[in-house]
């Protein structure tokens, strides 16, 4: 949903016989999406489909992970933390 008062450009997108959409160039430009990239699609509730640039989606996810680490005061590598967990797991040791 847009913020009240903000201008949002909407585009009507048709589907062909194989349900393939044609995305207007102006829509891609407005979203700063490189038309050569594949997009990731997901349903977002009833009647809504979201298309995302995978590069942007990963960047947003990484930002959230780093912010979450900072909020919890965790410094260091989570991968190293996992490897330490595994090293401490002696359930499979002899």
């Amino acid at each position: 949903m847009s913020n009240p008062g903000s201008a949002v450009t909407t585009f009507r997108v048709g589907l062909d016989a194989k349900r393939r959409p044609t995305l207007p160039a102006a829509l891609l430009r407005e979203a700063h999406i490189d038309p050569s990239h594949d997009l990731i699609a997901r349903a977002d509730g009833e009647g809504r489909i979201v298309l995302e640039d995978p590069v942007a989606m990963l960047a947003a996810f990484q930002s959230a992970v780093l912010a979450g680490k900072a909020e919890r005061g965790f410094v260091g590598s989570l991968a190293d933390d996992l490897l330490a967990d595994r090293a401490a797991d002696d359930s499979a040791s002899e």
Binding site: P54, A64, F74, S77, A79, D80, D81, D89, S91
Partner: protein, 154 residues
Amino acid sequence: MSQLPAGPLVADASFLISVAEADVLAMRFSAALARCSVSAVTFGEVFYKLEQKSGMASESTYAMFSGLGVTCDPVTDEHARLFAQLKDIDASSRAAHAGSKPAKYLSLGDIVCLSHAMVAGNLPVLTGDKHWLTLPAHGLPLAVFDYRDTTLVP
């Protein structure tokens, strides 16, 4: 200088977690995510670590990686039947590196990931666990690649 092979790969949890935290060395291989599969247990390690230490919901982590093309396979008795072989390989490696501190053992998480790669057709594995790099010399029928190895190229 070595190169990550083309074709399907198995991702260890350490690699996926490093991608999630934007590790520069892991991000060199981000394009390979669409070729990666993981076992459900390995995915579970990624989920719990990110939820525990960054608050990222497992559903969001699953949606992100599956959206990038990472596929998840169940763990079955076929994997379980490889555990003893992997323990033997691990013991052989440990004997050869006797005196190294600390002694490294394969955890259940390690064993599940490696058995997944074997069952999937002896696929190459991408990990940050350097202990795994010692195992092919002791009978592990897999190519193991360390994403933190700066001489490894995508």
